[in-house]
Subunit: 132 residues, 2 copies
Amino acid sequence: MQKEHNLSKNQKIIFDLIDKSGEPMKAYSILFNVQKKGIKAPLQVYRALDKLVEIGKIHKIESRNAFIACQNSSCQVSKATAFSICESCENVSEISNSKLSKYLSNFSDDSGMKYSKYNLEFFGLCKRCKSK
Amino acid sequence: MQKEHNLSKNQKIIFDLIDKSGEPMKAYSILFNVQKKGIKAPLQVYRALDKLVEIGKIHKIESRNAFIACQNSSCQVSKATAFSICESCENVSEISNSKLSKYLSNFSDDSGMKYSKYNLEFFGLCKRCKSK
DNA sequence: TTATAAATGTTATATTATTACATAACGTTA
DNA sequence: TAACGTTATGTAATAATATAACATTTATAA
C-alpha cells in the first residue's frame, strides 16, 4: 500500500517539471525553469528536491548530480535504486528488475553491517549509441 | 596481470595522502593537506584525482564527493566498484565479494544495453554505530 | 633529436549546495 | 477556535565542489 503524499506548492511545481521532462534534470536548470512560477532561489529548489527524494517521487543520479522522476510506480521510498546510464548520450533509465533488487536487498557480507539502502549505477552505451 | 603505472609527482603526493588516510577524502581537504608540498590550486588536485581514478588507484564515492584508495590489490581499473557506507559515522569500505561482482558484471536486462561498468553504494549502520 | 603526448602551473570562473534567519501555512487537539 | 507544534516558504549571503582557458615544462617513443 502506497502512502499518499500531498505535495506542497513548490514540491508540486518541481515534481511536475521533472516528471514531464522524462530525463535527469540538474538543480539549477530546474531553478531556471521554475522562475516564472515564482521560485527564485536555489534553496527553494533544493528543499523541494530533498523532500521529493525522501518520499521516493524522484531519485538523485549521484554520478551526474541530477534528479529524475521515479519510473517505478510501486517505489514508495528511495531505498533500492538502480539505473542504467549511457556514457555517450547521457540517457538514464531506472532499472526495475525484481531479481536484481531481491539479490541486492538481501545482500550481506561478513562486515556485520546491516544494509538498509543501496544505489546502483550501471554505465555503458545504449542501443542507439552503440550502433553508431 | 597488473599494469605498472608510474605516477607523476603530483599524482604520487596525492595518492600517498589518500592511501595513508585510509578513509574517503574530499578534494579541498586534499588540497589543504598538500599545500606544503607545493600543490596550490584545485585544478592540480582534480587532475591528479582524475588520473588516479582512471587507472584504478582510487575510487570516487559518488554520494559523498570523496575519494578513497583502492583497497583491493587486484583492482586494475574502476570498472566494478561496491562500497558500504555507514550513515552514522560515515565510515566507508570497499566490498570485494566475487559473487557480487560476478553477478553484477554479468547483469543484463532487456534494454539492449551493454554494461561495461558499475558502481554500487550500500548504506546502513556499521557494527559500532548499530550497538550504540 | 624531434615531435608528440602527458603533466604542470596559474588565474579566473562556473556549478552545486548549505547556513542563517524571518515568516507563513497547515494539522492537531484541547 | 485558539493555541501549539510541525512543515513549508522567502530571502540574502556564502560555502563547497569542479572546470575552462591558456602558457609552459617534462616524459616517451619514433
